[in-house]
Symmetry: D2
Subunit: 143 residues, 4 copies
């Protein structure tokens, strides 16, 4: 599947992915690079992009990496997800990199890193803002 096909499948199938403006920039076997564009709507008082928005980005990114590895997998659903928020994201775009660390017959175990910053501004370095691991349950019969 192409990055665009993965993005469309996820945005149609996962309600929150469309809400957060999820974009898939690159896919290859066991890997997906994605992002969401910042809007005020995601922000908590204090300026932090809310936890659930970051969780939705991570979940959609894992799914993208799974689709990139297996092709169109209907009925794959999240089995578990664990997120550690390491620091407050800057009020800008968030990007993610998802890797499938283990592709079993029934479960795909993934790792996702969420990054913030690193734009054009002076002195702007990208920061690791959250670290995520999770599993997608894969349907029994697949093409």
């Amino acid at each position: 599947m192409t990055a665009n096909e993965v993005e469309c499948l996820i945005r149609e199938g996962v309600p929150m992915a469309d809400d957060i403006g999820f974009k898939v920039d690159e896919v290859r076997d066991h890997f997906a690079r994605t992002r969401i564009t910042f809007t005020d709507r995601f922000v908590r008082p204090g300026g932090t992009i809310s936890g659930p928005v970051q969780m939705a980005l991570a979940d959609a990114s894992m799914y993208a990496a799974v689709l990139a590895s297996l092709g169109k997998v209907e009925m794959a659903v999240t089995s578990n997800l664990s997120i550690n928020f390491l620091q407050k994201p800057a009020p800008g775009d968030l990007r993610a990199e998802a890797v499938v660390l283990r592709l079993g017959r029934r479960l795909a175990f993934c790792e996702v890193r969420l990054f913030s910053g690193g734009g054009d501004e002076e002195n702007s370095e990208e920061q690791l803002v959250a670290h995520v691991t999770g599993s997608y349950a894969l349907p029994a019969k697949r093409d």
Copy 2:
């Protein structure tokens, strides 16, 4: 704080909480009982309420239990969250119970259970659909 005050604070402060129609039914020290009303908008193909919607409910519920224990805590943010999806929820309301298991000076560790079903229909039993643990980081100075 009353259940209504907790609900308003969370719905104003947490973007996704308002999106999912988060309601707080009961609060007491170290505990909150909450729910979201089912709408088609939450649903993935196959009829499952999406993972991120359940994560948002769990996160808001933990926050409700923390507020119920500490009063209005500005700037409390999620430190980490871990969710296990145990079975597909029925296409109906989801309710949650959040307990603060450990209230430290800097971190509140919580457990949340998400339940589905148990409505008026015949043969309808409530099921545990997801189990969540997580921590909220508490600000250094508090009233």
Copy 3:
């Protein structure tokens, strides 16, 4: 299986269980109550029972609850485990309660609570010292 049978099976099969003097006090469907007796050998400088000893107790307790639910299951192995250390245990015995929250065909999802204190001494209250969730992978064919 009886509590004694479960204890023997685990102590023979799991190296660390025997090292920590793992005991099974009670089993019933979806549940096991267990403990380890305190020895200096478990203790870190500062007097805390070491993390790995608590992890071994939690893992063996989950396995006990799984055996209590399914009978003798060869080749069941830990799929994942997540532990939160909530406070330092008192320098005494640790006891655990493990519950199977979801018994699927391929995975058993469990919750374990570790308790400390509550002995005969004056003013001694039992404390929740750690909270654990985890999954055991179950073999495909079972009696």
Copy 4:
């Protein structure tokens, strides 16, 4: 601290580290490379190195990376640990790589990967057998 100093401190201070023959091969800021040598004593029926042994290796490795970053930190203790067992290790040595992803004032968040295989034998490739994340709580005052 040198790799040897880190190894000695951990083996003296953490009971299980000495039991499993924990060795530190390399340390640098935010990183430690470690291993344990295989013995039959670690093995479950079926030949798998037991879960708790892998957990002890991961925990000690995180601690090594923290010590490598901060120098000798007394009273640092594990706050939480989460392990995913990805495949059965070969019956041989296990090695680990631990990285400190975020070094805060109060918590160090780490990632550890456990590897198996990759010895001298023909056709022997190293495999990722477990993935771990965890946090160490750091004492308030440090040199």
